[in-house]
Symmetry: D2
Subunit: 345 residues, 4 copies
């Protein structure tokens, strides 16, 4: 088994600068719970990237950031419209329902992305007391299938949501990958495209630990400080989360690792393109490659490389690249894929 792999972008370590920032922040006493200078600077960085009205609330993990963000946007009778494949729906062990009390109205999608046409049938039963009321549209950017919403696609969803009195939330665990893929600033994909709030991913982008809820409109999120604490996402030694974000959001550092990860996924897709028996199933726009292999080929490869079978019924696999995936990793893996598939044929 190779120590290196393609299982998840959270198998990677942290950026060296991030670890250095933690060490540098370990200097004497600092007020707890965010009343420190690192947090002030990190918050300012978020404003630089997301606009002057952006308010960032650091949190521990993606599930926590999503739940805090949704609780901040929701009424107790609100439902959240999201793709079936949303992390919210399939990988948070029911936290949105159990902790947030929220019902998810899931939508089947071909590529992990909502469209106004897909959302439309869920925009019904307003005012009926028997039904949860659609309150939030939540999209993942980049999606869990490695696809990316264009700025226009985000805006169309925002416009639709707002026209019906809903809010648009972005699960941005991989927002950096999406912005890198589109080569746009973070705010172009969010604040300027009509997004109301997002969960911003730090961990997959090279942090040791840390995510953020970012509210993009000044009138949203009453009580969010209480919600974060109550949702068990308030760090006491906050400076150590903040210092990581401070360095990640310095200039375009966040973009470098994401762009690299994207490039590695593209390299992998290119390297196996045309291989008989291998079918890439999703457009490779961010840092993921989804593919179907011949029977047993995946199993053989998994003896040497870590990755997940995404769909047991179809045998579809997922290969994730990260900020520290090397061209050598990709080339070695691609070569093994080709030879394994060839011998399986």
């Amino acid at each position: 088994m190779s120590e290196r792999g393609f299982a998840s972008d959270n198998y990677a370590g942290a950026l060296p600068e991030v670890v250095e920032a933690i060490a540098a922040a370990n200097a004497g006493h600092a007020p707890a719970y965010g009343d420190d200078e690192w947090t002030a600077r990190a918050e300012e960085r978020f404003r630089e990237h997301f606009g002057r009205d952006a308010r960032a609330f650091l949190a521990f993990n993606g599930t926590g950031a999503n739940v805090v963000a949704l609780r901040a946007l929701a009424q107790p009778w609100s439902a959240v419209i999201c793709p079936e494949t949303a992390h919210l729906n399939v990988d948070e062990c029911g936290a949105p329902e159990r902790v947030g009390g929220l019902k998810l109205l899931t939508v089947a999608t071909p590529d992990g992305k909502l469209t106004p046409e897909l959302v439309e049938p869920r925009l019904v039963r307003f005012g009926e007391e028997h039904a949860v009321q659609p309150g939030i549209v939540s999209i993942s950017q980049a999606s869990e299938l490695g696809t990316v919403y264009s700025v226009d696609e985000v805006r169309a969803l925002a416009d639709q949501a707002h026209a019906h009195g809903l809010l648009l939330h972005v699960d941005g665990a991989r927002l950096a990958n999406a912005a890198a893929a589109l080569d746009v600033p973070l705010r172009a994909l969010t604040t300027d495209a009509g997004v109301d709030a997002l969960s911003f991913g730090g961990t997959k982008n090279g942090l040791v630990i840390g995510e953020a809820v970012v509210l993009l409109r000044p009138d949203l999120g009453e009580g969010i400080a209480y919600l974060r604490k109550q949702s068990m996402q308030l760090a006491s030694k906050m400076r150590f989360l903040a210092a990581q974000f401070e360095v990640l959001l310095q200039g375009d550092r966040w973009r470098h690792g994401a762009a690299h990860a994207n490039a590695m996924a593209a390299r992998l897709a290119d390297a196996i393109a045309g291989t008989p028996g291998v079918r890439v199933t999703q457009r490779v726009e961010a840092n993921a490659v989804f593919a179907v292999l011949p029977p047993r080929a995946a199993e053989q490869l998994q003896r040497r490389w870590r990755f997940y079978v995404w769909d047991d019924s179809t045998g579809e696999v997922r290969w994730m690249c990260s900020w520290d995936t090397t061209p050598e990793d990709v080339d070695g893996f691609a070569a093994d894929i080709r030879s394994t598939v060839a011998s399986a044929a």
Copy 2:
């Protein structure tokens, strides 16, 4: 305002070895969510300190660890008996109720500590469907008032709890301080004293971030892995939490900082003992000093030193010492207390 202060033991930074351990863990790829070698080693360290049946589940913060631990011990109709002063009750923004769905049955105490006599009146209405059923006794060790339960005191509470079919939980955010104060191993105060489960504090003991839920009996905690994830306390890059615990729980390192913090609190209490107008209100057994000062003295001191007024109605203040509090910090502060109080007289 002094950069150094006595506001909280989470104003301190992290042990240098802990930061080094994070850096050392930043080596290549590692499986996420705890399936890594650092986590395996940290879990083994917990078994060394708490016994072979101890199972540790790392978490992000104290509120999270408490809620996961209680959820793992509770039925949906269980109530938790705890002191009024419990962190659970006063400093978790209702997370036990909102996230855990648990009712707390609070007990007024003179010193932050439960006794069997204080618990007894809460052990009523078993079998009545109108009433939540007492299911868990939760104590904080050391308590939020800086007092410490002796081994015998813990055992008496455990025996009482078990005799009535309840479980004993310890909020051990400062368990290290208690064990240091009593000069006993961690398991003497917990596993061997009948405790069923605990929240073990890492952050106040010198970590950057990290707490742990530790189950001490093999038959407890069905589904705890789901509860941790659902309670939004599962770290993806777990190695970075685990590496900290690995080094903290190496031999007696956890004890050194705690013993030092305790010694600094004792030094502070000694230094102000006998000062006219200053009354220390709780026994100084761990790393906290509680005191009442003459009117306005606290306010004047707060211009130069960070600390909290604990009780606005009485003016009682709380001074916390940490692993990095120095004798010079204490002596300077004590001198200022004495002179401020003298001039206020």
Copy 3:
């Protein structure tokens, strides 16, 4: 607008015997909360119909009965597999999620009925902490689309559920209609077919008010008395709920009204069969008729008759019959349908 209609079987009143039973129960003092003779007799009636191990817990409404039943069967990390059309999913305003904390794993069905083949793809990810764990299969009998599971179909679902460690719950708001449709005893469709627990509908079957949670296996439902109270479904003057069930479950009284309602639906379906432009969309097995009409015909009919458009996008309508629907009601309505559709053509 006709005072009579086909909007819902809960637009009907109550059986005269039921109202008389309430009056008869209004005699002097009786212990509250179910410790009365009426409740004892009603519980015995449930045992007569569902077997000696059946334990009935009376509740107020269907949503309440469903949530109590599911809470009694679930772990905090359990998910409930159910059809998309389940009342649970679409008509309980998120109570299963908000109050029960349960995630529903919904399955699209052509006819409102699950099959083992439809359930199979949901029986995945056992043991993965990131995912809610399938714990319960819930079916509605009769279904919300007026279709009925045969005894064999129920048994197949029960066997599948049990083989995977799940439990089978039946939302029996219209169980009487199903048993009448199949001409079998209640226990043949439930206890003897492997069902673990059910919500038994009283209101739609002719009560003033009242539903019941019925546990069918002796080892299930720990703490259900607490769960009922906590879920706000425990009546103080329980005798008035119990007296209704006592009379409804006396012999086959429950069956008469249900069989009549079914017959009226069949009469309606027959009366419009072959009408050009009218397409009945579901098999008429219980007391509902679903149909698609020509554009605007439904709207015109709704000026004179109360009924609901089931699906705005297709114009599909739902016509419900109840224990008090008369042949004259049906014939008059059918005649109006035919003439309205003819003139709309």
Copy 4:
């Protein structure tokens, strides 16, 4: 054991007029869920008694009405200040916490009644994210100890609450008894005294089943229709709840039974006054008598009469009178008390 007793006012049956109203409402079809003429008339009756802005939402039981009312007034981070003896706190099996997610801040009282002085210490920590935020003051009127707040006492609590941005909720399971005791209209004790919302008790006042949430200010209770449904308190055949309230709230009918119950409690207290060894422990202002008897006397009496020991530790007992308690009931019971106590001496 006498069939008649003093255990609870919900051991009584229903007013004959209430049962007749149910029978009369059983006439043909009526729209479900409150869109019927009985509900419209009942709502109008509530406006007659509580003012033009009063909006009543019928519910099933007291726990349900309390939880819906509090959810309608609360934010997710709100806490509810209430007496330790509140039904909310001791007799709802944790529903406010588990279903409402609300933390109760309980206050010890001598007589079951809050005062501004008792509330004051709970009005702290506003704006601190670690603490639940006081949002609601909830009082029971009459209290669970049979005492009654005067209009001025209610107003003082309302003024205090509003001055701090809180709302005042009244658990009015026995509001009729309080209004009868004070001989004032219902609105004098509620709307005109500054109360924001209440739970209005029907069952203890002579209904078969039924309570109501009543919002008294037009700007309160956004989404309450969803909250009622989600809290499983929405009746389908609503007319049968409404018809009961319609007749109960016709003129002063609600007052007659309550005044009678109060008078019976006074008669009982008078009849045992001065009995050696019997000490009445609370002022008898509504329909309850609390007393301490000599050792074993209560036990002996309980062999012949149903009533509850309120406090096992002191032997205090509670005797409740209801609308159907007769002078003969009281006189017979009082005679037995006197002779039992005499023989126990």
